[in-house]
């Protein structure tokens, strides 16, 4: 009896393993119908547009079915990752380049099917896009993504908040980080220690995008050019951390990561915040959330500030969302997927008009549509002095280390010198481990 029970348990134990071991994706037949799973993040402005492209593409290509599925922008990274880990990733997906880079270097995404989309090779395709925008998806002589959007952030200003504090936004807007702190001090309203209206506040979860350029202005770097040394130029990092310490509740108390995201409250114009950091897409969001404020003209966009004694003229880092195609499919499916992505992205001007996102083609950037977008010149000028975001397999961990350092000086009362030393040691250990 005991033997029977034991055998029974062994079989039960092994059953799931056998059941779950078959994780490879099935491939379509040589000439049968094709079904493509297309996962993207939620964006109400983009949904209508892309659903239409799906319909049009399917009508033009009988036998092709495209299932467009949207996921929350916070969740899509996890969902795509777990799907790929189980060898069941979507056929087409988009992701921010800091996250997508790992998919490229781990062979999870297919090189662009140049012939399928009418290019002779990567060089001809790169030539269609503005300088630097394809660098992060160009690996070992091949391109692995078609850009959906390229973003850089500038400072959005609420003129009404300036006027309420007796300032003229057009003249008094901050040009340097030092002025940013001083003007924020004038705009801020507090109930004791509690801030009821912030002048400006940073975009805290995005330390690599929005704070590393501040260090670069002071001559510092996250990682050396050869990729072997982390946290370059101690003085620059300590100065940056000191600035953040002064910004936080233990310093001048101008803002903190624990307050509601400044970019989100900006649109409401509820006297919550005077300035925030965001991309051109913010304009469409203001229009959607608060048409009265959008039409009033009581907002404007100013360039990303620099430190008074900056040694490098660097604006906010730019990053991109790229459409990618799963490499674990048949060649026929891969080529069809690229064809569909290219079909969508051939409507670059429509993306700009309807969604306010910038597919970075030279044609679009030179178009009247782009030039007529409010403050598009500010973003273009800032883009010219911007670096691309740090992309490496350890990018997310590196961002956490910078976050830890900034939070430790802002919230935990750690001295900038000490926070810098910890950051440097941990970041170097991380690089060495790679």
């Amino acid at each position: 009896m005991k033997k029977t029970v034991f055998l029974f348990l062994i079989i039960l134990f092994l059953l799931p393993g056998l059941a779950f071991s078959a994780g490879q994706q099935e491939s379509a037949e040589e000439d049968g119908p094709i079904t493509l799973e297309f996962w993207t993040h939620e964006d109400p402005n983009r949904d209508a547009l892309e659903n239409r492209y799906v319909e049009e593409f399917m009508a033009e290509n009988p036998g092709v079915t495209i299932n467009r599925v949207t996921h929350s922008s916070k969740k899509i990274f996890e969902l795509v990752l777990t799907a790929f880990a189980a060898n069941a990733g979507p056929d087409i997906f988009n992701m921010q380049i800091e996250q997508a880079y790992s998919y490229i270097i781990n062979g999870r995404v297919a090189p662009v099917g140049y012939a399928a989309i009418g290019y002779s090779g990567p060089e001809e395709m790169i030539d269609q896009y503005i300088e630097g925008s394809m660098g992060s998806v160009y690996v070992d002589g091949d391109l692995y993504g078609i850009p959906l959007e390229l973003n850089n952030w500038a400072v959005f200003v609420n003129k009404r908040v300036f006027a309420d504090a007796g300032l003229d936004a057009e003249k008094d807007y901050p040009k340097t980080w030092e002025e940013m702190a001083d003007i924020s001090e004038k705009l801020i309203l507090r109930d004791g220690e509690i801030i009821t209206r912030r002048g400006f506040d940073f975009r805290y979860p995005y330390y690599l995008i929005s704070m590393v350029p501040m260090v670069e202005q002071l001559g510092g770097k996250l990682v050396s050019d050869d990729g072997k040394t982390a946290i370059i130029n101690d003085e620059a990092w300590i100065k940056f951390l000191t600035y953040m310490q002064e910004w936080g509740p233990n310093g001048r108390n101008l803002g903190s990561p624990t307050y509601k995201n400044a970019r989100k409250v900006f649109n409401m114009d509820n006297n919550d915040v005077g300035m925030c950091l965001s991309g051109l897409y913010q304009e469409a969001r203001i229009r959607n959330d608060n048409k009265e404020f959008y039409d009033s003209g009581d907002w404007m966009v100013i360039p990303y500030p620099t430190f008074e004694n900056a040694v490098n003229d660097v604006a906010n880092t730019f990053y991109g969302q790229y459409y990618m195609v799963n490499a674990q499919n048949s060649d026929r499916e891969i080529q069809m997927a690229w064809k569909f992505v290219n079909y969508m992205m051939s409507h670059d001007e429509e993306y700009l008009k309807a969604v306010n996102i910038i597919p970075p083609t030279k044609k679009l950037m030179a178009s009247e549509t782009f030039k007529n977008m409010p403050y598009s010149d500010v973003f273009v000028n800032d883009l010219a002095r911007a670096n691309v975001v740090y992309t490496a397999e350890n990018g997310a961990k590196m961002e956490e280390l910078v976050k830890e350092a900034v939070e430790s000086v802002m919230l935990s009362g750690i001295a900038p010198v000490q926070a810098h030393a910890t950051l440097k040691a941990k970041a170097q250990e991380l690089l060495n481990e790679m």
């Binding site: 009896m1 029977t4 029970v5 029974f8 348990l9 039960l12 134990f13 059953l15 799931p16 393993g17 059941a19 779950f20 916070k74 996890e78 990752l81 777990t82 790929f84 880990a85 790992s102 998919y103 781990n106 062979g107 999870r108 507090r190 109930d191 004791g192 220690e193 509690i194 801030i195 009821t196 805290y204 979860p205 509740p249 903190s256 990561p257 624990t258 307050y259 509601k260 397999e393 350890n394 997310a396 961990k397 956490e400 976050k403 830890e404 939070e407 430790s408 919230l411 935990s412």
Partner: protein
């Protein structure tokens, strides 16, 4: 002899039926518990990148060796224990007190039961989101505390200070689970025969004596059950800490083991190391469950 033979046959028949009845549960646990545990242990012996298509490298116990020498992992162990002890003990004591209070009132018993239990049906993510609003510098937490302490305008930094952020996560968990354990204690208290209390009353025992000498000893199985369940819940805590760190709270003080597992596996793609952490957490949970059973000796109570 023949009698024994018949008895043996009957026992075998009963055992076969027993096996048939437990088979669905064993199958369920095999798929959703045994297999993931064994797979996690197997994975923990490899250096494996979650995204890589390359064959993982066998490294034996290297992941465990790394973790036991990692300050970051020990910080997670500390954060987990601080949270567990800070939540588990108040949960156990106060839920028992509230259950005793509810059992002793004649009116409004059902109202209190529902009131305490309601947060338990809310998902962990939603409850953490509610408390994020309360702990916002301009939220209700500062307003209440400043009103009570007559300290207008003070920001108690519920999500910013290294101690306050720990307390905040404990408050969320305590609020969410207190009602659940109160209901379990009420069920336990209701099982104690009324005659015991009547006898004690006739003997002139005070309320205090009745609680310590009758209620608590007879409630021991429920106390063991609640303590094991609440301890395991606390050791597994994740969503509150995850949501708080996503909303700007410093990670260090609340970087519990489960959060570290998530970040190591999902964010950093180091699934081998994350698996090793999950096996260590499993061992910790197993040890505390065993310890609680052992210290309670017997949960059999006869009236």
């Amino acid at each position: 002899m023949a009698k024994e033979k018949i008895k043996g046959r009957l026992e075998r028949k009963l055992a076969r039926w027993g096996l048939a009845f437990v088979a669905p549960s064993i199958a369920f646990f095999s798929v959703f518990a045994f297999y993931p545990i064994s797979k996690a242990f197997y994975t923990s012996l490899f250096k494996k990148n979650l995204l890589s298509l390359k064959k993982p490298t066998f490294i034996g116990l290297e992941n465990y060796r790394y973790l036991f020498g990692s300050a970051d992992f020990w910080n997670s162990v500390e954060a987990t224990f601080v949270f567990s002890i800070g939540t588990f003990l108040p949960l156990l004591i106060i839920s028992l007190m509230l259950a005793a209070f509810i059992m002793n009132i004649s009116k409004g018993r059902r109202f209190f039961q529902i009131s305490y239990y309601t947060p338990a049906v809310i998902s962990s993510v939603v409850s953490a989101a509610i408390w994020l609003l309360i702990f916002d510098p301009r939220g209700l937490a500062n307003q209440w505390v400043n009103f009570i302490l007559h300290t207008p305008g003070i920001d108690h930094r519920w999500l910013a200070g290294s101690i306050t952020v720990r307390v905040s996560t404990m408050i969320v968990y305590f609020w969410k689970y207190i009602g659940y354990f109160v209901i379990i204690f009420i069920a336990g208290l209701a099982n104690i025969p009324r005659s015991m209390y009547e006898a004690a009353e006739i003997d002139g025992a005070s309320g205090w004596n009745v609680f310590w000498r009758i209620t608590l000893p007879l409630l021991r199985p429920t106390v063991v059950l609640v303590s094991i369940m609440s301890m395991l819940q606390c050791l597994k805590t994740f969503s509150t800490q995850y949501l708080f760190t996503q909303s700007g709270a410093p990670q260090g003080p609340i970087n519990v083991i489960t959060l570290n597992i998530y970040n190591t596996g999902i964010r950093d793609f180091r699934i081998g190391r994350a698996s090793a952490m999950s096996i260590i957490l499993f061992a910790i949970m197993l040890f505390f469950t065993w310890l609680q059973f052992r210290t309670s000796r017997s949960d059999e109570v006869s009236y």
